[in-house]
């Protein structure tokens, strides 16, 4: 390698270093892009896919469309859904307290308990896909901070009633 080549290489090398400084220097003067979160709002929450929630009937939004068939429970890869209905009363057992059993139960067309355990959920949407009456959808609730994992057992019926009331 000749001396001139050597110095040419050194020159281009030094130039690239100066160009690099120029770029970071320019960035230094540009406005920042950080969203300082609790003080500023994040603007794309509407498309966020949170835990599943029930969809109410068109005529009565506080009652879910759900027919308590149990398809979503079976479809869930992580077993995070619980749907319970009253177990049909056997003959001779009338008057005893109502026992809840996993859906489907004979004679029950609405669920008595719908719980999603969000600490297990991986948000895959298989439950919503499996639902025959389109009663499940993703919520867009990103504020999911709890102190105990048990608190992630979300009562969807209560949530639906609350949403309908608002």
């Amino acid at each position: 390698m000749s001396v001139s080549q050597l110095f040419e290489e050194a020159y281009t090398g030094l130039k690239s270093l100066v160009v690099g400084l120029g770029i970071t220097g320019k960035a230094f003067c540009q406005p920042q892009v950080t969203v300082i979160y609790p003080k500023q709002e994040v603007d794309n929450l509407s498309s966020f896919r949170g835990h599943v929630e029930l969809i109410g009937k068109d005529d009565d939004p506080s009652v879910p469309r759900c027919v308590a068939c149990g398809a979503c429970v079976k479809a869930c890869p992580s077993n995070c859904l619980t749907i319970q209905c009253p177990v049909p009363v056997k003959e001779g057992d009338e008057g005893k307290p109502v026992v809840m059993g996993p859906a489907p139960q004979k004679g029950s067309k609405t669920p008595a308990v719908v719980i999603v355990d969000f600490s297990l959920c991986s948000l895959c949407g298989q439950c919503a896909r499996a639902c025959p009456v389109d009663s499940l959808q993703f919520s867009d609730n990103p504020y999911m901070v709890r102190l105990d994992r048990k608190e992630f057992q979300i009562d969807l019926l209560a949530r639906l009633r609350r949403m309908a009331a608002e």
């Binding site: 030094l14 690239s16 270093l17 160009v19 690099g20 479809a75 948000l123 896909r129 025959p132």
Partner: protein, 385 residues
Amino acid sequence: MQAFDPKTLAQDPTSVRFEPGPTEDKLILSMGPQHPSTHGVLRILLELDGEYIVRAEPVLGYVHRMHEWMGQEKTYFQFMPNMGRVDYLHAMAWNWAYAGSVERLAGIEVPERAEYIRVAVTELNRISSHLLWWGAYLLDLGAFTPIMYAFDDREFLLDILQAVTGSRLTYSYFTFGGVYNDVPEDFPKRCLDFVKLLRSRLPMYRDLVTDNVILRGRCEGIGEMDVELARRYGATGPVLRGSGAAVDTRRAEPYSVYPRFDFPIPSYPQGDAMARYMVRMDELETSCSIIEQAVSTMPGGPIAAKAPKTLKPPKGEACYAVEGARGKILVHVRSDGGPKPYRVKLRAPGFSNLSVFAELARGTLLADAVSILGSLDLVIPEIDR
């Protein structure tokens, strides 16, 4: 300093097996599982002579999750969300490989619109993977700023993908026969805007990093491999293209609607870390051009074929190869006609790419080994599965 004593590591069978070399002044160094540049929890046992590497052996399995067993235990639909977790950086390609192999097995036709959406989101995801690699690789080489610029650009992309899929990282967007839900109205416009933005940023990337004399010194001539070595180890993707073979599964074994798009396959003959770097930088542009073509010619129609709620493919087997950001993803599914696969085999490109590392790292400096490791673009969850 105590001499290396294999007895003190009796609880660790891997280390015991990695005996000290023939001379005593070799240093056995356990790089990882917690090390800044092993990208997660990879462990590499190194035998060093000074700072020169005599022997390197990757130790895997720290994030092993037994996906293949889960594949056998879950139904076809239930295994789908696992695919986003295998390689969290290019989840769409894994989605596609599994969906594609089951579609082949069950003979499900995918509607045209779904194919175009698949292409668009997979290429977007590829760009996000390459951008993250770019930043992380420079972090390995000691430059802290580029990853922030890369993440700044990646943010726009993740917003687009969030609007489509609802999540920002571990997508499970594909279903058998199509995609989960339709893209929003403004999807093509946002894609084109993003492509424009990225193209305006690429010269900055080049000036700041690619042309930088220090980076060139760290990458050029490091970890050279040729096509023959890549073939014997099964290295694919940018690693293979960086060795001079212009091979891309999207072109070699065309799937979906890729044959309809016009895109170049970047390849560099040098085979060093710089060549792999350049291939990935060029692929950013390639993916941009595919996205442009896909969203501007996206037809209307249904987004998913009618698939039964419980899928029971006929007995048989099928594989599906997809070009992921790291190389050829191959999913092989065997069915016995039941609702669960009999066997699912996932071929992770990073697994084969990493297996070359021992060969490439021999005789290099420790700093070069870090550079080589970074240039292979590893995602450890994909390698460990």
